[in-house]
């Protein structure tokens, strides 16, 4: 999106209105790629103001619960200066990045990369409406003011509504540098705002991907080999066809699909297939073997991603040297809505209804796999019942198109919970080997962090070692603390387990190591953990800001209820800063109870404070679930866990109180979906140390690790 903000605004926005449609502002980002000339003028638009004053806004990012479909209109409505909410919103088919830039809901980007383009669109429309009024009245535009859907000529008291001005505005040139509003004049941004689509959610009328219904649609379930890299070698087609409601059995690259009149018939039909499998080369893979692979790989030379000073020499001369090893397992996203996708593959074109976080990735994968021209693939972005990174990967979309093609009919492919658990793209397993040195005064003089991990980039995107190392050491190589000798490196340890992007990606694990190890060093130095961090953050005001705010709001160091103990952690990721204080008690049996979490974030200007709190609460709960419960283990080449009985989630009776505070700021907004996740696991681990004197160094945190038996 940076490339968009660099082009002049005149190039960026153009009029795409035709007579009678009012003012329509869309993109003009030359050159258009081949094959895209036929894009409908209204599908590459930000906004339309109709002659009736009705405003339509195209939301270009998927919504899987994070609130983009409210926050993005808030930004535009504020800059355009209309009452809230005055939009008729429209869903958008996936189109080329040349039109909207990235449409991916991932990397905590929806607001931070849309802020300038949306304000540009709003300010441009407002300036053109103002100019239209000035021309009608024959006055200077500077004497007219646009406010809340009306342009007023202040000295004469005349006024015209945006609707009355839309047709005229559409005939005027697009201004090059329309002024933005001052943040102090925001009337929507910064106000806690109810989500526009929540009324439909509480009535059960919102259509999720799972609820899509297309005329003539069959239901399908796919039998896949449970072992990664294996395949289906035999099945009883007749038995499946004998199930009431089963209409057919087709082979697809991922397995064998049963087509049926209903989901239940598809599930039963698949059971009746009684598949035999060729388990392939990974049939003996297990968690124990993966640990052995890590033991081996960690001995290899690491690929350095940070090299300040000479850490080894500094350690040799240090007064105290500490060592620690941290372990993080594979984890599943486990969104409440199981994976699903509806597709209708035709000879010359294809239509898809997908609850995806990455519509362009899915769109491109389908076009490429099946040889469709890009403009012949229509992808309807459906609401998702949670994503957390799982729905970035287009596997489920491509598979559904295969099934539809083989069935020669529109098909909804439904994954069961077990399918979703067994065929994920998991948060990678990792091991973190840390060594730190303090001088005689307790000052940190050396730091080493070796990340041994399964690489997402290398296995999913074809990254080279340098790229894989940069990705896997994110959160590790950008250690903010002032330490003159710092070495961070990476040893790659890949297996056949598919890995992908879990909310906050490698920042779920690198800060668990960094921020608990910093606490160990603070203890060794005999310094309070907040003070120890603060004195190494002189050049990092925004780190200091959130650390100080969290400590203040949590009354750090003040008396707590009996048996309660606090731990703190701090982390920067996805453009934003977050610090958290966890208040914890530990039972004699080693059981951990997290009572309260105080979270402080700095993500620049806050668009929707209520949604910021919700996103922080959500990130903390996922992080806490990962810290206390989540573990995918591998046995006989397959995932052991299948449903919520053996892959438990945090429940309401385990839920801490969460307070979210934010730093007041006039800086452009940055991400919030992921940044509050990373600090929670180390904050809890540090609180457990405060309570028990025991350092827990593996996730999930286990009672036996605390009890020591």
């Amino acid at each position: 999106m940076n490339t968009i903000t660099k082009v002049s605004r005149r190039d960026f926005l153009k009029l795409t209105g035709v007579a009678g449609t009012g003012l329509v502002l869309g993109f003009h980002l030359p050159p258009k790629p081949d094959g895209w000339a036929a894009v409908e003028p209204l599908t590459n638009s930000w906004l339309r103001i109709g002659p009736d004053g009705g405003v339509t806004f195209w939301v270009h990012r998927p919504d899987m619960g994070q609130g983009a479909r409210t926050a993005l209109p808030m930004i535009l409505a504020d800059e355009l200066d209309i009452e809230w909410p005055q939009f008729e919103r429209v869903f958008l088919p996936a189109v080329d990045p040349q039109v909207y830039g990235s449409q991916t809901a991932g990397g905590s980007t929806s607001i931070r990369t849309s802020w300038v383009p949306l304000r540009t669109a709003g300010a441009t429309a407002r300036a053109m409406l103002t100019a239209a009024a000035a021309e009608i009245w024959g006055v200077d535009a500077g004497s007219c003011k646009a406010s809340l859907g009306t342009v007023v000529h202040e000295s004469s008291g005349r006024s015209l509504s945006y609707g009355e001005l839309a047709e005229k505005a559409a005939t005027l040139p697009v201004p090059d540098e329309p002024p933005f509003k001052e943040p102090k004049d925001f009337h929507i941004v910064g106000k806690p705002t109810q989500r526009l689509d929540h009324p439909a959610r509480v009535q059960g009328t919102l259509t999720f991907g799972m609820d899509v219904k297309v005329s003539g649609m069959l239901h399908a379930c796919v039998a896949r080999c449970p072992v990664f890299g294996g395949s289906v070698s035999g099945y009883d087609e007749a038995a499946a066809r004998a199930v009431d409601g089963v209409r057919g059995v087709v082979e697809v690259p991922t397995g064998v699909a049963v087509l049926a009149d209903s989901t239940w018939a598809a599930i039963k039909g698949r059971q009746a297939l009684n598949c035999k499998f060729d388990y392939g080369e990974s049939a003996d893979l297990s968690s124990a073997k993966i640990a052995e692979l890590f033991d081996e790989k960690q001995q290899e030379e690491g690929y350095a991603t940070r090299e300040d000073g000479d850490a080894d020499s500094a350690l040799a001369g240090a007064a105290q040297v500490l060592d620690a090893v941290y372990e993080v397992p594979y984890a599943a996203h486990a969104p409440l809505e199981p994976m699903n996708c509806t597709a209708h593959a035709m000879e010359d074109r294809c239509e898809i209804w997908a609850p995806t976080q990455a519509p362009q990735w899915a769109h491109g994968a389908v076009a490429q796999t099946f040889g469709y021209a890009p403009q012949d693939v229509t992808l309807n972005i459906e609401f998702s019942g949670g994503g957390f990174g799982r729905r970035l990967i287009p596997d489920f979309v491509v598979e559904a198109v295969h099934v539809s093609k083989a069935a020669a009919a529109p098909v909804k492919v439904v994954w069961t919970r077990e399918d979703t658990m067994h065929h994920g793209y998991y948060r990678p397993a990792s091991r973190h080997i840390l060594r730190g040195g303090l001088d005689a005064s307790g000052k940190l003089v050396a730091w080493k962090h070796r990340v041994v991990a399964h690489s997402i980039g290398a296995t999913l995107q074809g990254s080279d070692l340098a790229g894989a190392a940069r990705e896997a050491t994110s959160g590790a190589r950008d250690l903010p603390y002032a330490v003159p000798n710092c070495h961070v490196d990476f040893c790659m340890a890949n297996t056949t387990v598919p890995v992908g992007y879990f909310r906050s990606v490698y920042n779920t694990q690198t800060p668990f190591a960094n921020e608990t190890f910093i606490d160990e060093l603070a203890t060794a130095a005999g310094v309070d953990p907040v003070a120890f961090r603060m004195r190494m953050l002189e050049d990092h005001p925004r780190h200091r800001g959130v650390l100080g705010l969290a400590a203040e709001k949590a009354r750090w160091g003040q008396p707590l209820p009996e048996g309660h103990h606090q731990g703190i952690a701090l982390h920067y990721s996805f453009g934003s800063w977050a610090a958290e204080v966890a208040e914890v008690s530990v039972g004699d049996d080693g059981s951990v109870r997290v009572h309260k979490v105080i979270c402080a974030v700095d993500c620049g200007i806050v668009v929707n404070p209520d949604d910021l709190a919700a996103q922080a609460e959500g990130a903390i709960v996922i992080g806490l679930t990962a810290a206390l419960k989540a573990e995918i283990t591998i046995d006989e080449g397959r995932v052991v866990q299948g449903n919520y009985n053996d892959y438990p989630l945090l429940r309401i009776d385990e839920m801490p109180e969460i307070e979210v505070h934010y730093v007041k700021s006039d800086v452009n907004p940055s991400g919030i979906g992921e940044p509050p996740l990373p600090p929670i696991a180390p904050a809890v681990a540090n609180a457990i140390f405060a309570a028990t004197g025991v350092r827990v160094r593996r996730m999930p945190i286990r009672a036996e690790d605390i009890r020591g038996t």
């Binding site: 959610r201 009535q203 239940w264 969460i658």
Partner: protein, 153 residues
């Protein structure tokens, strides 16, 4: 296949022709088109598919249609006209949802709790609501929404 008569949201559906083992969930969703009731786990482990059977919360994914014939079934679509139930209103007031996929089940669970216990304590809420999983982290808002609905009933 066999024919069943189901009473759903005050309406009687005769001659529902399905496999007797079909979970009520799939009859509601695929046969009757009531997709507000959600498929989450298929094993009675997450609560997303909760409906009321004679006023009691029940996991529709774990109840065969053959066992549902004699009950008055209420789904999220039948809980109120236009979302006017105090629990739904409280959910909006507290913004007790993010993706919302689990929330029809949460709301049906909370409505059943309040019907029996108009002023539940936090411990009552923990006990009644702990079967309902949410991955987005809305639990404390759900707690506040139940207390709010209790005040307004």
């Amino acid at each position: 296949m066999a024919r069943f008569t189901l009473k759903v949201n005050g309406e009687t559906h005769r001659n529902v022709n399905v496999d007797p083992e079909t979970p009520l969930l799939w009859v509601l969703r695929d046969t009757l088109g009531l997709t507000g009731t959600k498929f989450g786990c298929g094993a009675g482990l997450c609560g997303a598919c909760t409906v009321h059977m004679d006023g009691e919360p029940a996991p529709s994914c774990a109840i065969p249609v053959s066992s549902a014939e004699d009950s008055e079934i209420t789904t999220i679509e039948g809980l109120s006209q236009n979302g006017g139930h105090p629990v739904q209103q409280a959910w909006l007031a507290e913004q007790a949802l993010q993706c919302g996929y689990c929330q029809p089940g949460q709301i049906m669970g909370a409505a059943a709790l309040l019907a029996k216990n108009p002023d539940p304590s936090d411990a009552d809420i923990d006990e009644a609501m702990s079967p309902y999983l949410c991955r987005c982290g809305t639990y404390q808002r759900i707690r506040r929404a139940i207390h709010r609905a209790a005040r307004e009933v």
